[in-house]
């Protein structure tokens, strides 16, 4: 199977686990930047779609980092 949304969720949460130790603004930048720099566009799109659908299982930091408001900031 292509990375399931569970796989993507686990991977994104692992990234959040690393950046969580930083002040929130930095952590959100770190999470978003890492996913932008290393994930393929389809993976990012699927994660965005999952967030748009509620982001079940995702770390709130990931949701916040990738939310349109955060991206625009």
């Amino acid at each position: 199977m292509s990375e399931t949304i569970q796989d993507l969720t686990r991977m994104a949460n692992q990234i959040a686990d690393f950046f969580r130790a930083y002040p929130e603004a930095e952590a959100l930048d770190g999470i978003a930047g890492h996913i932008r720099d290393f994930w393929t566009r389809p993976m990012r799109d699927r994660l965005d779609a999952h967030i748009a659908a509620g982001g079940e299982g995702l770390d709130p930091f990931v949701i916040k980092a990738l939310s349109p408001a955060s991206q625009d900031a």
């Binding site: 199977m1 292509s2 991977m11 692992q14 990234i15 690393f18 130790a21 720099d37 994930w39 566009r41």
Partner: protein, 950 residues
Amino acid sequence: MARLQEIDYGTPKRETDKTVTLTIDGQSVEVPEGTSIMRAAAEVGQQVPKLCATDMLDSWGSCRMCLVEVEGVRGTPASCTTPARDGMVVRTQTQRLEKIRRGVMELYISDHPLDCLTCSANGDCELQDTAGEVGLRDVRYGFGGEKHFGEAAEAKDTSNPYFSFDPEKCIVCSRCVRACEQVQGTFALTIDGRGFDSKVSAGTAADDFFGSECVSCGACVQACPTATLTEKTVEAHGTPNRTVLTTCAYCGVGCSFKAEMQGDQVVRMTPYKDGGANEGHSCVKGRFAWGYASHKDRITTPMVRDRITDPWRKVDWDEAIQFAADRFKAIQEKHGRASIGGITSSRCTNEEVYVVQKMIRAAFGNNNVDTCARVCHSPTGYGLKTTLGTSAGTQNFKSVEKADVILVIGANPTDGHPVFASRMKKRLRQGAKLIVADPRRIDLVRTPHVEASQHLQLRPGTNVALMNALAHVVVTEDLVDEAFVAERCDSEEFGRWRAFVAEERNAPEALSESIGVAAETIRAAARLYATGGNAAIYYGLGVTEHSQGSTMVMAMANLAMATGNFGREGVGVNPLRGQNNVQGSCDMGSFPHELPGYRHVSDDAVRGAFEADWGVTLSNEPGRRIPNMFADAIDGGFRGMFVQGEDIAQSDPNTRHVTAALEALECLVVQDLFLNETAAFAHVFLPGTSFLEKDGTFTNAERRINRVRPVMPPKSGLSESEAVCRLARAMGYPMTYDHPSRIMDEIARLTPTFAGVSFERLDREGSLQWPVTEKAPNGTPTMHIGGFVRGKGRFMITEYVPTQERANRSFPLILTTGRILSQYNVGAQTRRTENSRWHEADRLEIHPFDAEERGIADGEMVSIQSRMGAITLQAEISERMPQGVVYTTFHHPSSGANVITTEYSDWATNCPEYKVTAVQVARSNRPSEWQLEHEEVRRTHYRRSMEPAE
């Protein structure tokens, strides 16, 4: 070139700025203080006759052949043991010396066979040469020596597969014994008996070489001045008559070798003394295990097939290339440009890797390129770039000679990087302190004349906790190098890190239970590392192959920065790279997010430079990593793959998942020496070239770019890079080089750290360590002198996050995997050599208690089951293992070690977590289901057209 015979200066070079000047045979000579008269004489071309001396070993002074006269000194001192002094006047050749030497030689020859014409060392024998030099014409004592000759001699020992030991020819110079001690550091050989009864022995009287502790590094064979220790290939073929300097194709040490040839036949490989990485030493793989290059299993003709269950059909290069290109193009037409990609190999040259990533980016039109470093050292690149600014180790290997404290983490250098381990052991014998952090009691923990001050036998998966605990001690016990940090590091980042590691939850006492090491032991290790002088970290895949692999690399960089251990010799953070060109394959832009030189594909300026040079528009989006390729192959979004010199079906985790992905591909092209496990699922096989046929460069773990020179033409008729260029052209992208040096010229033109590199310079200067730039025109043996590459060193906060892979009641043991000295990676090369005599099968090492609890006896077959699958192996009960942890290797495909490893991976790089798999072990009397299926695949997927179809 004609046969290269290096000058033997007799005694080692001294390294000091102080010099002395003396006169030898009327010539004035200035040498470093401490240099022997013998070496000083050799420096001005006066070779003093010698037998027990050689410049790889400390002087011994036993043969009495190198006597000289010194004005004002009574007698005739041995030149090997007498240091040169200011104003000395030395004569190396007088009538008195001639008479003494001839007399000594008479004694030697009286107890030595006179079968020179049929001796394997004829023409390459120091005893023969020295007899000639001293003018031996008669032996007054006859030729019937009683101790080492004729009936008195012990039988020839031919037990070692690569060399023989003929005691009859031994002159008891002890060079072999001393080489084993001083160069290799194994102490397997000894002199048995006293006086005239003295004989070389491999351990006890009952031991032969094969059964002894000898590790077959070849140092004794190289040191032997007679035919006593001789390569069996020399016995079979005679002495070589030409030399090609080249680089070993095994581990990341990247040893320089002399390929000694007769025509296009390799007679032997001998380590090159001027090789910067190895300085004349070798291991059993590089020295002897090169026979795979001409093994009968080599495939030298391209092959294609429509379906993976069809027999292979031999075709010519044009047909194979067109077949691959047509399929790739058809896939892209139907499924889009991003539906194909490829993998580069750390076993291939920089030039070969570069053209593959270029083909993928320019001809395939996407960034779906990844490399086998994904599954080994990708966290090294991420972690060191983040903290220090560059994705590479900081030192050269020689640096270890200046280390006072050596911290080895998750590496087993005596097995994985044996030539570097010998250097390290030499420094440890000189008094440097050793800390080992490893769940297993690896050999380094206690080996002859070496004993670790601390063995931190941590639980697999707790590396980051350990590193945080060490840092806690450094910070809270005031052991920080404040001046270094203030000058060299980002103060805000440091302040945050300091506060983080100082928290009580990071104290050894708080983490001790998780780590499995007593708090006081952790404190002692931290104090030793921080206060013991120059402290150097060496690490391997036990660091990187974890869910926190990248975090751990950053944690080590933090510790080294906090204690000021960067920017000079003897310190640093040093990855021991698994394969010979891991560093190079990463440098060459093999990652899907980076162009050559570690520059992100989204960087418009960088991408623009490549676009201008390559004449094509490049994607600015990161491509797929290997696990993404597998996942998307199963899902149908990824359908074509080019695999260069890697056996992903054996080496990558969760074998069933990998083979399901490969099976789903519409076109898999494998470029390799052999029909490996991955080739079972291929549609096109392009024959690759062994290192003996390659023309290019490898870059080792110390960033040293070394030449790989062909000793014979490609057996397939085509170089690998040319095959790739043809495929790129067939895909519609013009890619042509008239010589591999042109590829390096392009790399240098587009990659700032390689700016000063060319074949011409490498041929002239031997090797260069990148960066080779305008600022560092002669390369950079030590990184970060005076400042970090990124500017200020960046401390990163490294929170310990336990892996999700946990032991439980169903899977109560933790499996960790690794390698063994005699085998290499998936074993494709070493399994096709006599090295398999040392390791015929992968075994499961298990602690006696865990074995007893399960009723397992040593040597019994056991089933190892994880939540991913099961395999059956032979058990080896071993006290090297801690209770609760089992270990195996993955050198043999039928073992299927990766059937049971999981999909968990490093958070930053997706490097698989090979080192932590929860398993249960039980007695078994049958192969696992996967192993039975694997046998079936071997029957059905490897047939060639001459074999009858089913």
